[in-house]
Subunit: 345 residues, 2 copies
């Protein structure tokens, strides 16, 4: 039916082992790059940068120009969804995001029922620009946050250890939590569909806070909402590929695979691919999972870390990546060494 | 040889299923109790309280008097070991512990080679008092921090997200890290042996920060040091029982069991006993693992959470506990409901 993809990352997402492994890095457009810091200084707030198609395109392209990664990921933030739904979102320098907390069904009623996609037109324009400006071998990735991760910010108004405020809300007010998650599932699905229409070839769903949910809540608040988004996206846009990243969700990965959620599962840096891969079907691709601190350290920590992953994933469909976002203090020459070693393997 | 134990917790630690389950709660002597807050106000600093045998005995006994838990755990702190080794340790109200960081072999040389156990005499006196003042059905537990967790405080000088400073040190200066871990293994083993001699019947080793270690470092920095402590303790005091709690270490539990590390493995609240137990030998006891927030929430979240655990562990040697320490805002009547439900099962 459809043409066989030629881009390396899309081939892997189709279940094909590709060697040398294609590679991109979470948060590759970021503060470790001097050219990013220069562009960032031209924008007002962080959200201003996300909503400025020219500058967002520029920072998305910077790591591609410098390193030739196999994928470019849209420069944006997971909190544009609550922002589009009408919640106040601010990014405070060195403190992270601050939101006016939403803690009840009454609060939720103050937000929009459906996401006004026109609010996100600058994001779609960024993707549209990128789909023509990227090298033709580079895969364009869109993304969104998973509902539980986004909800935990919406409820606490900020990042919180173990998402205690949101978890307590899930126990105390399951009706509100279900309504909030449902709102986010629908908004995220519509948002991702529109990202595909604007030029994204695959999307990554970030469950950054998968680790703290107890078994009684995990499926309802994490697995099932992500499953609904992926299946809604694929029902509407069958060609769209999805990568699911559940940080701290190692013990749940086999169930994600069994539920058919995602063309690829991203592994955080604490997982051993040699242990995880035998528990997954061979057709499910994986992604990851170098410790971002090994990339900062360099030397033997870096080469051993890379080689350990390469040897575990050989023969499987795998995309090389870090196990979490690259950190601002990472030396750029270590990134170059990483890419050379993966590509020279 | 030795008499068969009659205390419920010791029977479980011997591999015997006991029903109704015995129960204690991590941090059961703590700020959720008004009587604790009253005693705490009489001590100067938090460390003063730990080193005051009369007051430390009193706060250890308070939850036993109020709730009749099956175990009392020594009131102390995992950072008394670096303190005894000569590192400056302060507890800052509402901020947690602050230490003068130890970041190199040269720094480590400034600390004592061997732990001066006389520095910890007040701790042993507390245990000695408790071994006569506790009800005779109550098991007396000692404890220490696992080397990696303690080292992460010693290196960063405080608690840090994902133990990034200690993890980076492990990559950059493996010789220093190995020397520090070795120092802590020896100090912890000597400390636990002396706790047993002072009246503790079992000990718990707290790896509070097991979650962030990558596979390349986990065995060297967590599993193997804990194994060395447990085997050193048992070689010296064969009757001593050990409970190992690796928070976030779910994917490693089967390897702890296979290595014979610990009479019981404690499960954090994110693990599903129904999934974990089939991966462990039936002779290894388990402990846990109610979400502390379910205990705060009460109502159906609490009863469902309890019942889920009870049904998963029935017929296995299991000690009921939370999956992490009880939080200050926990209503005491929820604790009473928890105990009644576990004992009435």
């Amino acid at each position: 039916m459809s043409e066989r993809p030629t881009k390396a990352i899309l081939r892997v997402l189709n279940g094909e082992p590709v060697w040398p492994l294609p590679i991109w890095i979470m948060r590759q457009a970021g503060r470790y790059l001097p050219e990013y810091r220069a562009t960032r200084a031209q924008a007002g707030s962080f959200l201003d940068l996300c909503y400025n198609p020219r500058l967002a395109e520029e920072v998305t392209l910077q790591p591609i120009r410098r390193f030739g990664f196999d994928a470019a990921i849209l420069f944006s933030d997971i909190l544009v969804i609550p922002h589009a739904l009408g919640q106040e979102v601010r990014f405070v320098e060195n403190e992270g995001p601050k939101l006016d907390p939403i803690t009840s069904l009454a609060d939720l009623k103050q937000l929009k029922d459906e996401i006004p996609l026109e609010h996100l037109d600058p994001v779609f324009e960024t993707l549209d620009r990128l789909s023509t400006s990227l090298p033709r071998e580079t895969t364009l990735l869109g993304f969104c946050g998973a509902p539980w991760t986004v909800a935990s910010y919406m409820i606490a108004g900020k990042g919180t250890p173990d998402q205690a405020p949101a978890r307590l809300t899930a126990y105390r007010d399951p009706a509100f939590m279900a309504a909030l998650i449902d709102r986010l599932v629908k908004a995220s699905t519509a948002y991702l569909i529109r990202q595909i229409d604007a030029g994204a070839e695959a999307v990554q769903i970030f469950e950054s806070f998968g680790a703290a949910l107890p078994p009684a809540l995990f499926d309802t608040l994490s697995l099932d909402p992500i499953r609904r988004i992926v299946s809604g996206l694929k029902a509407a846009r069958p060609q769209a590929k999805a990568i699911v990243f559940v940080r701290g969700g190692g013990s749940h990965l086999a169930r994600f695979a069994a539920a058919g959620v995602g063309d690829a599962l991203a592994l955080d840096w604490t997982l051993d691919p040699a242990q995880v891969l035998p528990t997954l079907p061979k057709t499910v691709a994986t992604q990851g999972n170098l410790d971002p601190l090994a990339l900062i350290a360099g030397g033997e920590a870096l080469t051993n870390g890379i080689d350990r992953i390469l040897s575990a994933v050989r023969g499987r469909p795998h995309i090389f990546n870090l196990g979490h976002g690259i950190l601002p203090e990472t030396p750029t020459d270590h990134v170059a060494q990483l890419i050379a070693r993966v590509r020279g393997a």
